[in-house]
Homo-oligomer: 162 residues x 3
């Protein structure tokens, strides 16, 4: 039997920690949530940078290697642009262009996502590799889940990898 | 009730402006359209570079900031490779390899996409941030749409983010 | 008629040859296969690096241009990190962090994928552009297929582009 296929759910894998890609992820998430879609964002690897409680560089982790890596990765206020980054100058330029044209900035979009009920979860394996703990992440992160669980919950959803 | 789920539509979010990634996007778009799938390409951020009327660098936008940014971003003839770009040398090398092996180049694929009825639309928000206007884009761009509209139209489609 | 839409199949386009992105691809592939999903991985462009028989740099291809390009691209043991690569130092650091925290490395995940029956295929067009031949790829690659065939086989699957 053939039927029309409709997805009412949207799942986004936020792998990238680039400013512009996170902007795209949160724009899609809020756009879908505002039109009554159920949205889950699964943050992994570089994407976890957006969820760290400390927005600047911080040496999280137990071992020296993890502490170095987390420091290098930075946090929400160090997100690079995926191109033309110019050592962090461009995300600031782009934010300026967004404010000037009355477009919501990343932090405003993240706040809107929370208010619209977008579910944000962190990847268990990536947390483990980077030696991050629950307390290192900001409030609003609902859960730490494995990739198999996430994929299982998304069987009836669109899955977008960013 | 459980039924077999088939998607007859394909939606591609062209976020990246990399030569190789746009090549992948248009290869999938034409491949799907040639087998009777309905295809929509939604161009946003760097992806808009592929649609600018001027193929080289041009200072589009009203404010100095947007004009600088658009100049830096370039157009269809400045698209970088996502790796091993070597200041723009590699896209030319790759095009040489493609011609040599009788594979369609990006511009040929774009032309084929238009002829196969692939629908190309531009992201309203990205146009707004970059201060681009309808007239800055090449012919064949059918519409400027918001992300919520695009997602809504794609509820019964595959959504691929590139 | 409206029914609940479930995808039991997962198709992953492995376009990127970045160490961290391939890690994400194989983690999702094995996670889905372990929970009885039918998984196909379609390797194209840089992603083909993961499948080359020779893990180091090798000058594959008939023409000087292809030979240069394949040498520059490298193989499984030269995969860069998508950020903070530091000339190849970081993939080694990350592997160290993974071993330390008892997380499977990329090669272990690839082995697990094969054992779980994940189907790995190579993109016909990319093989053609890079002048690669069947014999240049490692055992376990089941087929060389065109993108239209892949998309057609994936009509009832999730499609994720990495």
């Amino acid at each position: 039997m053939k039927t029309e296929t409709m997805h009412e759910k949207l799942s986004i894998v936020c792998f990238s920690g680039d400013y512009d890609k996170l902007l795209a992820a949160f724009t899609m998430a809020t756009g879908a949530a505002a039109t009554n879609r159920q949205v889950t964002m699964f943050f992994t690897f570089w994407g976890l940078n957006a969820l760290k409680r400390k927005h600047g560089r911080s040496a999280l982790g137990r071992t020296p290697l993890a502490r170095l890596f987390n420091w290098l990765m930075g946090g929400l206020s160090n997100l690079p642009l995926s191109r033309l980054n110019f050592a962090g100058l461009s995300p600031r330029l782009m934010e300026g262009m967004m404010r000037k044209n009355n477009v919501a900035t990343l932090q405003e979009l993240m706040q809107a996502a929370r208010e619209l009920g977008v579910r944000m979860v962190a990847c268990e394996m990536a947390m483990h590799i980077l030696e991050l703990e629950r307390g290192d992440l900001m409030d609003g992160v609902e859960d730490i889940v494995g990739v198999a669980t996430f994929l299982n919950e998304s069987r009836d959803a669109h899955i977008i990898f960013i």
